[in-house]
Amino acid sequence: MTVTLLLADDHQIVRQGLRAILKAVTDFRLVGEAADGPEAVRLVERLQPDVLVLDLMLPGLNGLEVTRHVARRFPRTRIVILSMHSNEAYVVEALRAGATGYVLKESGAEDLVQAIRQAALGRRYLSPSISETALGAYVQMTESTPLDPYQTLTFREREVLQLTAEGHSAAEIAERLFISRRTVETHRANLMRKLGVRNQKELTRYAVQRGILIKEG
C-alpha cells in the first residue's frame, strides 16, 4: 500500500533533507511541499494526502493552527508533527489539536518513517524519548482545579474577615490593624465579592461554616 505524503516546513534545507529520506522509502509517495501554514492547508485540500508531515513552527499560521484546521476539515489526512520541542506541553497540545504522530527533529530518520507508517494506519506514535509518564503528569497539571474561595483571600482580607465575623465595626478594625477605615471597607468589599456573600449575616454564616468563627452557645 502506497502512502501519499505532503511535506510542510519553512526551511528549504530541512525540506531537502526530509525529501531525501522519504524518497528512499519505496512505498511512500511525496505529492507536494509547502513552505508556510496557509499553503499547507491549501495543498491538503487539493491533494488530500494520507499523511501531512508538519513542522510545528510554521510562518503565517503556526503548526498547531494548521493541525486544528486540517483535523477538523479533512479528518482523512493524518498529521505527523515534526518538532524541536520535546517538552510535554507541546506534545500534549499537538495531540489535543488533532495530530496522530509527534516526532522530534533530533531523533533519526528511522523514527520519522516509523511515525508516518503508524499514522497512516491511524495509530498514535511518539518519538521514544518522549515519556508517556511525563505527558500524563502534564495533562494532570493542566486540569482545572476548583478553587476554594477562602484561599483566594490575602492575609489582610482574612484578618478583616475574622474581625468582621466577630462583630467588630470598620472603625474598630481600622484601629486594631493600624490602617484607615476606608482601607478596611475596601478589604471588606473585596473579600465579600470573592466569597460571594452579600451582607454581614451571610458573612457570619460563612465564617461559622468555615470554622473561622466558633459559634457561641
Binding site: S144, P146, T152, F155, R156
Partner: protein
C-alpha cells in the same frame, strides 16, 4: 379746633421760639408733630414735605392718616411700642417704613415724648420724625458688600482670619470664617485657649513659622505652606497668605489679615508624582543593570559553553578524513553526541531568555513548565492550582503573569527557606488573579520597602501597575510570604476602540 388753634394763636414771645424751632426743624429736614390723644387730631409741621413729600395742608390733620401709611408689616410692632410708651413710659424711639407721596416706602426714625396731665394720664405726644432712607440704603449696601466679600473669600480660600497684634508681638485670633473649624477641627476659642494658632502647626514646620511671624511684624506680607495637626490628629497642609496692617500713629503692626487654603490633596498628588518619578528612575536604572547582567551572562555562556563545544566538534570532525571503519564510526557518534549536547544548551539558553511556550501555547502550559522546571532545579515542591486558564490572554497579560509567578518563586527559593510553595492562578470575571504563597521564613515588608526599590518586589509591582492592576506583598517574619496580584484581562483602550467601532456600525 382746640389744641391746634392754641398752637396757632401764639404770643409774640412764644412766636420767636416757635420760629427758631421751625427753622431748626427745617434745617434738620425733620417733621415735628403733635397728637392730641383724646381726639386723635394731629399737627404736622412743614417738615412733612421733607419726610414724605406732602405739604401739611394737603393731608387730613389726623394721626390715623399717618398710622395707615405705616408698612403693614411694621404696623403691629409700632402700635405695640407706642402703647407701651403711653401706658407708663416717658418717650418712644421707633424705626419703621411708611408710604410717601410717590407710593414708595420711606424709612423713618420717629422719636417722641408723652405729655401727661396732673393725674398722670397721657394726653398728648410731641415728636420728631426724620427720613433715614438713605442711611438705610447705605447700610443695606454695606451689608451686601460684606456678604459679597464673604462669598468671594469663601470661593478663593477655605477660611480667612484677622488677628490683633499686641505691642509685645503676640498675635491673638480675633475672628475667623466658619471654614476655620472645617479645616483645623478647632473653634477659634479652642485655639486661643491652647495658646494661639501656632499651637497646631506641625513641630517640623514650627521654627520656620516663628521666624516668618517675626518678619511680618516689621510689616512685610507674604505667604507660606506649612503642615498643621488637626484636632483629630490628622496632618494637613495649608497655604496661608497674610497682610499686616501697619498703624502709623503707633509705629507698629496692629493687625494681621490672612487667607488660608487647604492644599493637602495637592501636596499628596505632588509627593506621589515625585515618588513615581523616583521609582521610574530607579527602575530604569535597574532595567539597565539587569540588561547588562543578562548580556554578560549570555556572552559568557556563549563563549564558555557553546564556543567550546563547537571547537571540540571542529577538532573531532577534522580527524575524520584520516579515519576508517570502526574508528570513523566512533568519532562520528562522538560528534553526534557533541551536537546533541550543544542543542540542549542552546535550547536552555533560549528558554531562560523567554519560554517560547508562552507565545506558542499560552499561559497555562508555560506555568506548568515553569513549576516543573523550578521544582527540578530548586527541590521546592510547587502545588499549582488554577481555574479558568483554558484560553489565551493578551500577550502583555500573559507575560506579566508569567514573570510575576517566576519572580515570586525565585524569591521563595532564595529567601524563604521553604520546602514547598503554592501557586494559585484564577480568572475572576475580567481579572486574572495570582497568588503565590509559602510558609517559609518571611520578612518585614516595611524594612524591605524602606531599603529602596529592590528589584524583585518593585519589578513585580510595576508589571501589575502598568497593566492597570495591582500587586500586594504580604509577609510575616516566621510565618511566610504571600504575593497577590490582580491583572485586568481586558485592555481599556481596546474596549473603547471596540465600543467606538460598534457605535459606528463597523
Amino acid at each position: 379746633m382746640g389744641d391746634h388753634d392754641q398752637f396757632c394763636q401764639v404770643e409774640p414771645a412764644r412766636r420767636d421760639s416757635e420760629e427758631r424751632f421751625r427753622i431748626a426743624a427745617e434745617v434738620m429736614d425733620a417733621l415735628v408733630y403733635e397728637i392730641d390723644l383724646r381726639t386723635d387730631r394731629a399737627f404736622f409741621s412743614s417738615g412733612l414735605r421733607a419726610v414724605l413729600g406732602f405739604r401739611p395742608e394737603e393731608v387730613p390733620p389726623e394721626a390715623g392718616w399717618w398710622r395707615e401709611r405705616i408698612h403693614p408689616d411694621d404696623r403691629p410692632g409700632v402700635a405695640a411700642r407706642f402703647e407701651t410708651a403711653l401706658a407708663g413710659g416717658r418717650s418712644y424711639d421707633l424705626e419703621y417704613r411708611i408710604l410717601n407721596r410717590r407710593g414708595d416706602y420711606a424709612h423713618v426714625w420717629d422719636r417722641g415724648r408723652v405729655v401727661r396731665d396732673d393725674r398722670g394720664q397721657a394726653i398728648r405726644v410731641i415728636g420728631g420724625t426724620v427720613n433715614i432712607t438713605r442711611r438705610k440704603q447705605a447700610e443695606e449696601a454695606l451689608k451686601e458688600s460684606e456678604e459679597r466679600h464673604r462669598l468671594l473669600s469663601e470661593l478663593t480660600s477655605d477660611y480667612t482670619y484677622t488677628c490683633s497684634v499686641e505691642p509685645d508681638g503676640t498675635a491673638r485670633l480675633e475672628s475667623a470664617t466658619p471654614g476655620f473649624t472645617r479645616v483645623t477641627g478647632y473653634t477659634p476659642d479652642e485655639v486661643e485657649a491652647r495658646g494661639g494658632w501656632i499651637s497646631f502647626v506641625h513641630p517640623d514646620d514650627l521654627p520656620g513659622t516663628i521666624k516668618r511671624t517675626q518678619s511680618l511684624l516689621s510689616g512685610a506680607g507674604g505667604m507660606d505652606e506649612v503642615r498643621i495637626i488637626t484636632k483629630t490628629g490628622q496632618t494637613r497642609w495649608i497655604r496661608y497668605s497674610y497682610r499686616p496692617i501697619w498703624n502709623e500713629a503707633r509705629g507698629r503692626v496692629v493687625r494681621l489679615l490672612g487667607a488660608v487654603q487647604d492644599i493637602t490633596e495637592r501636596k499628596k498628588a505632588e509627593s506621589q508624582l515625585q515618588e513615581y518619578a523616583q521609582r521610574l528612575q530607579a527602575l530604569s536604572r535597574r532595567l539597565l543593570q539587569v540588561q547588562e547582567a543578562e548580556r554578560r551572562h549570555l556572552a559568557r555562556e556563549l563563549h564558555d559553553e557553546v564556543a567550546q563545544a563547537l571547537t571540540a566538534l571542529m577538532f573531532t570532525l577534522d580527524m575524520t578524513p584520516q579515519l576508517e571503519g570502526a574508528a570513523l564510526r566512533d568519532t562520528l557518534s562522538q560528534a553526534q553526541g557533541l551536537v546533541r549536547d550543544l542543542t540542549t544548551r542552546v535550547r536552555d539558553l533560549s528558554l531562560r531568555l523567554r519560554p517560547t511556550m508562552l507565545d506558542d501555547l499560552g499561559l497555562l502550559p508555560a506555568l506548568v513548565w515553569l513549576c516543573q522546571r523550578y521544582t527540578a532545579q530548586t527541590r521546592v515542591q510547587v502545588d499549582f492550582q488554577h481555574h479558568g486558564l483554558g484560553r489565551r490572554f493578551r500577550p502583555e497579560v500573559e507575560t506579566a503573569a508569567y514573570r510575576i509567578v517566576q519572580e515570586a518563586l525565585t524569591n521563595v527559593a532564595r529567601h524563604a527557606r521553604a520546602a514547598a510553595a503554592t501557586v494559585r492562578v484564577w480568572l475572576d470575571r475580567q481579572t486574572l488573579c495570582l497568588k503565590i504563597e509559602d510558609r517559609g521564613a518571611g520578612f518585614d515588608p516595611r524594612a524591605v520597602r524602606s531599603a529602596g526599590p529592590t528589584g524583585g518586589l518593585s519589578g513585580m509591582q510595576e508589571r501589575a501597575v502598568l497593566l492597570g492592576g495591582r500587586l500586594v506583598v504580604e509577609s510575616v517574619p516566621g510565618a511566610g510570604t504571600c504575593v497577590t496580584a490582580e491583572l485586568p484581562v481586558t485592555d481599556e483602550e481596546e474596549d473603547k476602540r471596540n465600543d467606538r467601532d460598534a457605535a459606528a456600525g463597523r
